[in-house]
Symmetry: C2
């Protein structure tokens, strides 16, 4: 079951503060302070495209990047298990090296921040326990109270490993992160280019994660389009809703 919030642990401590915070958040949303209107969202999703040529001189401002990094951290995942690592590359020499293992596409070098989405290859009981520790640290309560949840997750991971689809389950979660990241960037006015056309094994070597518990899955360059990227001028090609959306 895919969900971002784990079951309630009893005895969560700072109840009053939390209620006030949540109430405040509801109020702000109710007033529309933090939301976009539908036209603005669609304008940004139309504005977005897979940038071929970034402007190497334009860097993402630190406060914008901090928000984008948090959007990665906040990505929902199955059981909340977050089977991932995000590697953010701004070092010019490393970025340049990645071009050759990205089908010679220039985006890794020319973008501002190149993000590598790496999956946790296995999911042992220790990983589940680390997650449960994190729940208890955040919400209070005891780990014992989460035993049912623990059993469900270790049972799931065991079955998935046995049947050979645990890693692909993790990869799917990373694609949620990729979708979330591109949309988050678009609503902030930051350009991206998702890149499946890379050599994951060569990425692993260059980033020094070969043989570790993580492996490169996909990358996404972020930054700002060059003024002369001709792809920015092209009309977006999509099948019409009448073909790909069915109403029941």
């Amino acid at each position: 079951m895919l969900r971002s919030s784990a079951p309630v642990a009893s005895d969560s401590p700072p109840v009053l503060q939390r209620i006030l915070l949540v109430a405040l958040r509801h109020l702000r949303v109710a007033r529309g302070v933090n939301t976009l209107n539908p036209d603005a969202l669609l304008a940004q999703l139309h504005w977005r495209y897979a940038v071929k040529k970034f402007d190497p001189a334009r860097k993402i401002a630190p406060e914008l990047w901090a928000a984008l990094e948090q959007s990665l951290v906040l990505t929902p995942s199955s059981f909340g298990l977050q089977p991932w690592k995000f590697i953010v590359i701004t070092d010019a020499a490393v970025k340049q090296k990645l071009v050759a293992v990205s089908w010679n596409q220039p985006q890794p070098a020319e973008c501002s921040h190149h993000v590598v989405f790496a999956v946790r290859k296995a999911l042992g009981e220790n990983d589940v326990d680390r997650f449960l520790d994190s729940i208890v640290a955040t919400r209070g309560g005891s780990k014992d109270a989460l035993k049912g949840y623990r059993d469900m997750m270790t049972g799931f991971a065991g079955k998935a490993a046995e049947q050979g689809w645990l890693r692909e389950w993790g990869v799917r979660q990373l694609y949620i992160a990729l979708g979330n990241f591109m949309t988050s960037a678009a609503v902030l006015g930051v350009d991206t280019c998702p890149m499946e056309g890379i050599s994951p094994e060569e990425y692993d070597k260059i980033l020094g994660i070969e043989g570790t518990e993580f492996a490169t899955v996909v990358a996404c360059a972020a930054g700002y389009r060059a003024a002369d990227d001709k792809y920015a001028q092209l009309a977006k090609v999509r099948f019409p809703a009448t073909e790909i959306v069915r109403h029941v």
Copy 2:
């Protein structure tokens, strides 16, 4: 290579109009008319959670839903191939039937719009050609000019089918759509609950797509949280950025 825009076809017709539109869009973005500020984005991503209990009385307004449906249509995909179908269920009887094949979770029945993400199981030359027709219809030019692109895609699909990972490639694209959809909903102030805990085969039967070219992958309920969904009050549990983000 994952990208949403296909190569440039020559002779695209309504050039002036397009340039004006693009210029207008750039201006609006430059003025920040359509973008969120970073704090507002993060407020919405914190506000988002996997809703357990929807308010069955609250429906998503038509203009909001239209935008969310467009966000699905605009999802980027590998080569731009859009190997998907989105099934939007508002019929009460069908929604109720889906509960039993969703581990008895009530969200499909209680939400406003229940979205099923279905993958195109195979990708033949006819599918590639349909996509190329769509490029030509949108951008003008001739299909012949896209022959290199066609060869790349059919070569890719053939290899992926032979090696047995074509369907999983498509599923990954659907998870981009899922991530995009949840984030789009969050910035509009609409609640969601991603649901991997479903029986895809039973969904296929209920939706009448068993044996067709599409198959259910994952679902996402959308609507508004019930005032008494206790999960809304819980602090979000995430590993800290220091653990899951690495800077190079």
